[in-house]
């Protein structure tokens, strides 16, 4: 059986990227609402009865974080922190294209990997929202932030935020794709349908 040439494979990748982009444009308003509602549930559960309570909402394509709790009650000006939510879930397009163009995957496994991969990516997108919500309390609440969070907490949250926003959003699709299709991908890259096992040295 002949292997697909690299050029053809990349053209397929480009085609799936365009299809993914069109689907994403069509589905993104509902998908944004899903991320916001799941994140709100998780945030409410995590924050419990503590001083920090966050309302997460959508205003067009912007995700709003509004601190509502004891600390917000003490403040005269309640502020909303805004981020473009499309920036958080735009990476689904890349994962979609990578899985559909992936060489050597059977129909059943491709479907399973697509579902599992997109679910895992969805959880990472929710994690990004949670980190952004935490970021407000750690950095942007003035005296409250200084009194309740040490330098160590600030470093961890800032690093997590940078990791998820700067490189995580594009590297996670690749990492998830490799995690689920390692055998087939390395097999293709090595020039065989199935990756050949490494020979053990005879002693």
């Amino acid at each position: 059986m002949k292997l697909e040439p690299l050029k053809l494979l990349l053209l397929k990748g480009l085609l799936f990227l365009i299809i993914g982009l069109v689907l994403w444009i069509y589905l993104q308003p509902s998908y944004s609402k899903l991320i916001v509602s799941v994140s709100q549930e998780v945030v409410t559960w995590l924050q419990g009865e503590g001083m920090e309570k966050t309302w997460i909402g959508l205003q067009g394509n912007m995700i709003l974080y509004i601190p509502r709790g004891l600390i917000a009650g003490e403040k005269k000006n309640i502020f909303a922190w805004k981020r473009d939510i499309r920036d958080i879930h735009y990476n689904s397009v890349i994962l979609f294209a990578l899985i559909l163009f992936s060489p050597g995957l059977g129909f059943g496994k491709r479907g399973w990997v697509l579902m599992a991969g997109l679910t895992l990516l969805f959880l990472i997108q929710v994690l990004t929202v949670l980190v952004q919500a935490k970021f407000i309390y750690v950095f942007q609440m003035g005296e409250y932030s200084r009194a309740h969070y040490r330098a160590w907490d600030r470093n961890i949250i800032a690093f997590l935020k940078q990791f998820l926003e700067l490189i995580g959003k594009f590297s996670f699709p690749f990492a998830i794709w490799m995690l689920f299709t390692y055998k087939e991908t390395t097999g293709y890259l090595a020039g065989a349908r199935e990756a050949k096992p490494r020979k053990r040295r005879k002693r």
């Binding site: 690299l6 920036d87 990492a175 890259l189 096992p197």
Partner: protein, 182 residues
Amino acid sequence: MGEASSIRSQEIKTPSYRKEAFYFFIKFLVLMGLLLFLELFNPVNQKVIIPFSGFLARGSVFLLKLIGTETKASSTLIVSQQFSADIKAGCTGIEPIIILIAAMFAFRASWKAKFCGAFLGMVILQGINLVRIVSLVYLGVNHPRYFSEAHTYIWQIVIIALSLFLWIVWAKGLKSYETGAS
């Protein structure tokens, strides 16, 4: 007893792709974390990243002049009468390089292949990033209504698709893979 030990030895000989995939995943994430930490580390940021951003700004201004768009560089800023852009984290082209290097170094290949691939990848990605900055400033000055879409969607996907493409081409060219060299 003999049958059981034969089955066990067969299990040992069969490569565990799940394990290998998991190691790749972890190595990739750890390497990315370390490289990002290095990028954000204040002395590195002050002495390497910010001067490099300034260099990108000056290079972009030079290229923009060649295509007839007058701008000025001030530190990491590119300024014109109608539009200004700041080259900050996320715009320097360093993040796709981090992803590419982490993917190359997490994959089973010779050190020579890893270093050569990383160097070539860096050069290509920085070249394309310069084109990205020039085209975005050009759009910002001449067609500002297209700037946001081009900045957020078109170029982000082009840059990341390019780094994945470079990784695939690099990994496909590895002759050492089948022999298991590491």
